[in-house]
C-alpha cells in the first residue's frame, strides 16, 4: 500500500497548473490502487493535505471520481514546502543583492558598525510585525502548545515559506525557554565577505529582528542573538532565541463600556 500511495503522491507532485488535468490524473491514479482501505485513503489524503496541498483539488473533484466514500483528513497545518511551492517567488540573487545594497547604504550612512547592527535589527522588527499576518494566513498553523513547538514552526515552516530554506532547532535549555535555530542555508550571504573594517557587523541581523518582531505580535517577548556566523569565521549560522516573557492576551476594549 505505502509504495502505491507514494507513487500517487509522486505523480501528483509534478504540480499541474491546470486543475482539470490535475483531477483527471488524480482520478486515474486512484483507480489503479486496488484494495485501498479507508485507512489507506486517510493516509493518502493526509499526505496530500500536509505535504502537497492537494486537498483543495481533491474537494472539488466530482463525487463519482472519488471512487468511494472517503474519510477526509482534516485540513491540517501546511508544510513549509507546500506553501513555498504555492507562493509567488523571485530569484534569490535579486534578493541577495538588494539586501547587500541595503547594508552597504547603512554602512555609508551610519559609519558605526554598531549602529548598522541596530538599524538592521529595527528593519527586521518592522518586517516581523507585518510578516506574522501573512505567515498565519498562509500556514494554517494553530496555537502552539509551548515554546518548543513555536521554535519548530519558525524553523520548519517560517524560514521555508519566506526564504525557501529550512533550519534546525537544537541546544534547548532545561526549562524549554531558550534554544538555537541553526540555518543550513542562508540566501542573504551569497557573494558576501566582510572586510576587516566590518568585523563587528552582524550581517544577517535583519533575521533576528524579524523573529523578534513576529513573536512579539503573538505575545512572546524574546531576545534573539547571533551565536555563530559563517561570515565571522564560524562553521554555521546559529541564532539563539530566548523567551523572556509571555504577555497574556489583553483585549483593547472592555465589554461593559
Amino acid at each position: 500500500m505505502v509504495p502505491k500511495i507514494d507513487k500517487l503522491v509522486n505523480v501528483l507532485s509534478t504540480a499541474d497548473k491546470d486543475v482539470a488535468n490535475f483531477q483527471v490524473k488524480l482520478y486515474d491514479e486512484m483507480t489503479t490502487i486496488e484494495g485501498l482501505t479507508e485507512d489507506g485513503m486517510y493516509d493518502a489524503t493526509t499526505m496530500m493535505a500536509t505535504k502537497l496541498d492537494l486537498i483543495r483539488e481533491f474537494f472539488t473533484m466530482p463525487n463519482h471520481h472519488r471512487k468511494r466514500d472517503l474519510i477526509m483528513a482534516p485540513v491540517g497545518p501546511r508544510s513549509g514546502d507546500a506553501i513555498f511551492a504555492n507562493v509567488e517567488r523571485v530569484n534569490a540573487e535579486l534578493f541577495t543583492l538588494t539586501y547587500g545594497a541595503t547594508v552597504r547604504q547603512l554602512l555609508t550612512d551610519l559609519e558605526e558598525v554598531e549602529e548598522v547592527n541596530k538599524q538592521l535589527d529595527q528593519m527586521g522588527y518592522n518586517i516581523g510585525i507585518r510578516l506574522i499576518d501573512e505567515f498565519l494566513a498562509k500556514s494554517n498553523v494553530t496555537r502552539c502548545v509551548d515554546f518548543r513547538e513555536t521554535a519548530e514552526v519558525i524553523a520548519k515552516v517560517g524560514f521555508k515559506m519566506f526564504l525557501g530554506v529550512t533550519a534546525t532547532v537544537s541546544n534547548w535549555d532545561a526549562d524549554g525557554t531558550c534554544c538555537s535555530i541553526i540555518l543550513e542555508d542562508n540566501p542573504l550571504v551569497d557573494f558576501v565577505e566582510l572586510p576587516d573594517t566590518c568585523r563587528g557587523l552582524y550581517y544577517c541581523n535583519i533575521l533576528s529582528g524579524v523573529i523578534r518582531g513576529a513573536l512579539e505580535m503573538v505575545s512572546m517577548k524574546t531576545e534573539v542573538t547571533w551565536i555563530r556566523d559563517v561570515l565571522r569565521g564560524d562553521d554555521a549560522y546559529e541564532l539563539q532565541v530566548k523567551l523572556l516573557k509571555q504577555v497574556p492576551e489583553e483585549y483593547p476594549y472592555k465589554d461593559d463600556e
Binding site: 507562493v87 534569490a92 538588494t98 518592522n126 518586517i127 534546525t168 543550513e184 542555508d185 540566501p187 551569497d190
Partner: protein, 198 residues
C-alpha cells in the same frame, strides 16, 4: 557540535563555486525587504528627488554586480560592446534573471537619438506600492533605473537613467518606463566606429 551539511567554509568568497542562480525566495520576502529599504531612505532625505537618487544608488550597486555575475556565468566572460547589444542584454537577459521575465518592450526614443526606453506594465518592485498623493511623481522604479544604470555604466556605456509612470488607457495602474539617455561620448564613439567602417 551540530553538523550542518550544506554550509562549507571557504577561506575566500572567490573560491566558492558560483551558484547556478536557480535558487528562489518568496516574493513577499523581497517585497518586505524592499519596503524597508524605501522606508529607511525616506528617513534620510528632505525631498523626492533626493529619495529617488538614493534608491537609484542602491540599485546601481545591484546592477554593477549583476553585470559581472551574468557575464561570468552566462556569457563565458564576455560582455556586449555594442550599444544595441547591451540594450537587448538589459532588456532580456538581465530582466529575465532578476524579474523572471523579459521586459515588456524596448523602444528607441522618437525625439532624441540618444534615448531608449524599457517599459514594463507592472514592475516587480512596484507590485505592492502605492504612492501617496503628496509624493507626486515619485516612482520606486528608481531602484530599477539604478540597476539599469549600474549595468550600462559598468559595461562602458554611461547613461542617465530615470523611471517614470506612464498612464495606459483603460488600465487603472500606470506602466513604468525606464528612460535611458546615453552620455554624449557613447554616441560619439558609436558614430566614430560607424565612420571608420563606412
Amino acid at each position: 557540535m551540530i553538523g550542518v551539511g550544506k554550509i562549507k567554509q571557504y577561506s575566500n568568497v572567490l573560491d566558492k563555486p558560483l551558484s547556478k542562480g536557480k535558487q528562489e525566495v518568496s516574493l513577499s520576502a523581497f517585497a518586505f525587504l524592499f519596503s524597508e529599504l524605501v522606508q529607511y531612505n525616506q528617513t534620510q532625505v528632505d525631498n523626492i528627488a533626493e529619495l529617488e537618487r538614493r534608491l537609484e544608488d542602491a540599485g546601481y550597486a545591484v546592477g554593477a554586480r549583476v553585470l559581472e555575475l551574468l557575464c561570468h556565468r552566462d556569457k563565458g566572460n564576455r560582455r556586449e560592446t555594442r550599444l544595441l547589444g547591451i540594450l537587448s542584454f538589459v532588456h532580456s537577459t538581465v530582466w529575465k534573471v532578476l524579474f523572471g521575465k523579459v521586459a515588456d518592450s524596448l523602444e528607441k526614443g522618437t525625439e532624441h537619438e540618444d534615448e531608449y526606453m524599457i517599459s514594463e506594465k507592472e514592475l516587480l518592485v512596484n507590485r505592492f506600492i502605492s504612492i501617496p498623493k503628496d509624493m507626486g511623481t515619485f516612482n520606486c522604479g528608481a531602484f530599477v533605473a539604478g540597476i539599469v544604470r549600474g549595468v550600462l555604466d559598468s559595461a562602458g556605456f554611461p547613461a542617465v537613467v530615470t523611471a517614470h509612470f506612464v498612464p495606459v488607457e483603460g488600465q487603472q495602474r500606470p506602466r513604468t518606463t525606464i528612460l535611458i539617455k546615453f552620455a554624449e561620448e557613447v554616441l560619439a564613439s558609436f558614430s566614430l566606429i560607424m565612420t571608420l567602417f563606412l
